[in-house]
């Protein structure tokens, strides 16, 4: 039995994993992968099967937990974005040598473009590096089926399998046919039964280098067997062969039909880009690979593509880019490039606690201080000059430490302030703070604690006290971690309490200068993008006193709230009431005191 439902690629992957029996699923949020795990949680709530489906503190921990579950014969999977796989790489490469005892799938979402990532790296290359087979689905329907196939392949060969998706697929939607999930026979695997006969296998699970050599050899044999049955599927019947995988395949298929190239082109679909077997292509005049974002099939099968400049080496291979590629091959005439007008840059939400908090930081430490930022919504503070570096998760802390050390060595006084969010701090900000403390580096670390993973859609953090199922959880307190390291100056303040925040920051500044030790200020304010956060947020409606506003634009430039807009005719600032959430923070910003609170709810004067 099957039903048709309208799903995103990420949702389809979750359905596929759960339908094939995954009962242990972890991950770390990261666009465009974040919706997979919550979808599986919804299925768990709906079907009430046993298992563990929840976030881990970072991708390495997530992968290790899921892999260890597979060693206990529970089908497992882990989700992350492509840069998250870098964090988990040590565990990932190792997992191929050891091999799971039950199906184990690593789902990684790449971000060609990039739309919301630091790199355009191709996880299919990472799969090759780690010697792990990789599926590359081309549609939402395939995402569902490949999730199942990946698990089956993993079970059969006792090898981890990577399921690679991209932004276009993860966030793409389609009505697809899926098997009805049956609770009674599929959703209650007997944990006790599976675990009863669990035996130690030290030669494998704690392998020495000598045994590792043998494991490597066994892994190579598995890969060879998989490559033997890995067949390219062919569409159309021309004498130019275009090979592709992933969403790009679907764009090419559309273009070939749009331009009636069915007699000129054969389109080869590669479901598993690694491990591939050499095929006989002698009947084709040319062989070209079009794939996102790195040459993988191209290198293995020695074809044209990026090596001769037909395929661009950076950026998403959108339908328009694929059209240009067909023109470069000589199949169609050159197309005019569409000039896309730029959209308004993104900024922090109106009322975001990070904005007023970081405005206070800028007020106390000035523009000369170096602000080493991190990955999260607060990266957008670069719009108003409170973020000078953005690198990778946790680097806000290590960059501050390294840079400050250099300034100290050179004898030049320069304030260096690290900025990191709560979830990012727990993810990978703790180790560099240990070094900052240990080496007595006088940095100030601002930890922005909004009690959620904001940027990726408000996922749970380890500070939460309840799971999605209502189970009690231990709440991790960031200030305890900081104090536990040994840092003496640790202050917590709600960033909405602007004057108090200023006082705390001034205290931190004196402490740094006098004591030459690391200090930490935790600026707390719940994310107003969550329902509870918005409901509990203080309400302080404001208005602009027209006579006082001199049109200096200080609030627009230095505070950058989207609800503060410029009235071109009057040359004064206006409040966009459709965006304003009445947080009242901008009252503290205007140097002319032209923004005032409206008492008695008489805010219709806007």
């Amino acid at each position: 039995m099957s039903e048709r439902i309208y799903l995103s690629g990420n949702e389809a992957i979750a359905y596929g994993l759960i339908a094939s029996g995954v009962r242990f699923l972890t991950g770390y949020p990261g666009t465009p992968s974040s919706e997979i795990l919550p979808t599986a949680q919804k299925l768990k709530l709906r079907y009430k099967f046993k298992g563990f489906i929840d976030w881990a503190v970072n991708e390495k921990v997530a992968l290790e937990m899921a892999f260890s579950a597979s060693l206990c014969k529970i089908k497992s999977a882990v989700t992350m974005k492509q840069v998250g796989l870098n964090v988990a790489m040590d565990a990932f490469v190792n997992s191929a040598y050891i091999g799971p005892k039950a199906g184990f799938v690593v789902v990684v979402a790449d971000d060609p473009g990039p739309y919301s990532s630091q790199t355009e790296q191709d996880s299919r290359i990472a799969a090759y590096f780690a010697k792990v087979p990789v599926f590359d689905p081309s549609s939402v329907e395939e995402a569902y089926h490949f999730a199942k196939k990946a698990l089956e392949l993993s079970e059969e060969f006792e090898i981890p399998v990577l399921l690679r998706t991209t932004t276009a697929l993860s966030h793409g939607k389609a009505d697809i046919s899926i098997d009805n999930l049956k609770i009674e026979d599929q959703f209650q695997p007997n944990f006790k039964e599976e675990l009863k006969n669990w035996e130690k296998e030290v030669s494998k699970l704690a392998a020495t280098p000598k045994q590792r050599y043998l494991l490597h050899k066994a892994l190579n044999e598995k890969l060879k067997a998989i490559s033997e049955r890995n067949k390219i599927r062919y569409f159309y019947e021309g004498d130019i062969l275009i090979l592709s995988s992933g969403m790009v395949f679907s764009y090419l298929r559309e273009l070939i039909e749009e331009y009636n190239l069915q007699q000129k082109v054969t389109l080869g679909k590669v479901d598993i880009p690694y491990p591939l077997k050499k095929e006989n292509f002698s009947k084709f005049k040319r062989i070209i690979t079009v794939e996102e974002t790195a040459p993988v099939i191209e290198l293995f099968l020695n074809t044209e593509g990026r090596r001769n400049g037909i395929v661009p080496s950076e950026g998403e291979l959108s339908p328009e880019v694929c059209e240009n590629i067909l023109a470069k091959i000589g199949l169609i005439s050159e197309k005019k490039t569409v000039i896309i007008p730029p959209l308004k840059r993104p900024s922090l939400c109106p009322g975001c606690g990070h904005r007023i908090g970081l405005f206070a930081v800028k007020k106390v430490f000035g523009k000369k201080a170096i602000y080493t930022g991190d990955i999260g919504c607060y990266t957008l503070a670069l719009n108003f000059g409170v973020t000078d570096t953005v690198f990778c998760m946790g680097a806000g802390v290590s960059f501050a430490t390294g840079m400050k050390k250099v300034f100290d060595l050179s004898g030049k006084e320069r304030m260096v302030i690290g900025i990191v969010g709560d979830s990012t701090f727990l993810h990978s900000g703790i180790p560099p703070l240990i070094d900052a403390y240990h080496y007595r580096v006088p940095i100030l670390l601002i930890i922005l604690d909004n009690e959620t993973v904001g940027m990726t859609g408000n996922q749970k953090t380890p500070a939460h006290t309840k799971s999605y199922e209502g189970e009690p959880l231990n709440s991790v307190k960031i200030e305890n971690i900081v104090k536990g390291i040994g840092i003496e100056f640790v202050k917590v303040v709600d960033s909405y309490e602007y004057k108090k925040t200023l006082a705390v920051l001034k205290g931190a500044k004196s402490y740094l200068l006098e004591n030459k030790k690391s200090a930490v200020v935790i600026l707390k304010h719940p994310c107003i993008y969550t329902k509870e956060g918005l409901e509990k947020n203080p309400k302080k409606p404001v208005k602009i006193v027209e006579e006082k506003c001199t049109g200096c634009k200080y609030c627009i430039v230095e505070f950058e709230c989207p609800a503060l807009i410029w009235d071109k005719d009057k040359e004064k600032v206006l409040i966009d009431k459709t965006l304003c959430i009445n947080c009242g923070c901008c009252i503290y910003v205007c140097p002319k005191k032209a923004i005032i609170e409206v008492k008695d709810g008489a805010c219709n004067t806007w």
């Binding site: 276009a168 939607k173 969403m247 993104p346 900024s347």
Partner: protein, 157 residues
């Protein structure tokens, strides 16, 4: 049919596109769509590309959309990169929607206007997938256009 729906976060772009997709599915058509949400949430640009009854991928090539639906008029230049034919709601229509129905049903009211003006889908299919309150709101929007036009002949072209 290739549609692009553009607006700002909070304007109901996703709701609007979800309803359209459901109507199409109800009509027995396949639907493929992609949602692009900006980093900033409230006020950020939300873009939905949707193919109904055609294609293999959800992405629409610039210049090839049959209709671009703008929920935010300032996105017109951007919207036009997808296709020449633009649909927007007039100021009067939006004001009417806010006046006629409670806030949470404004989008279905506008959907009624959209269906009446474009004739893309059968109104009865739309009614089938909505709850009672939304049905009422949809019909009100639909009726508003008919009352403006006198007779209902203003179809797709």
């Amino acid at each position: 049919m290739e549609l692009v729906i553009l607006g700002k976060g909070g304007q109901g772009v996703l709701f609007f596109s979800k309803i359209l997709a459901q109507i199409a599915i109800e009509e027995g058509e396949s639907v493929k769509a992609t949602e692009i949400k900006g980093m900033a949430k409230k006020g950020g640009v939300v873009e939905v590309q949707m193919k109904i009854g055609e294609g293999y991928s959800p992405k629409i090539k610039r210049g090839s959309a049959d209709l671009v639906i703008l929920l935010s008029p300032d996105l017109e230049a951007y919207g036009k990169t997808f296709g020449e034919k633009i649909f927007t709601f007039s100021k009067e229509e939006i004001e009417k929607a806010f006046k006629e129905v409670p806030l949470r049903y404004v989008n279905t009211y506008l959907m009624g206007i959209f269906l009446a003006k474009t004739g893309i889908f059968d109104i009865n299919k739309a009614l089938k997938i909505l709850d009672e309150e939304n049905q009422k709101s949809l019909l009100k929007g639909y009726a508003y256009v008919q009352s403006q036009n006198g007779d209902f002949t203003k179809r797709r072209d």
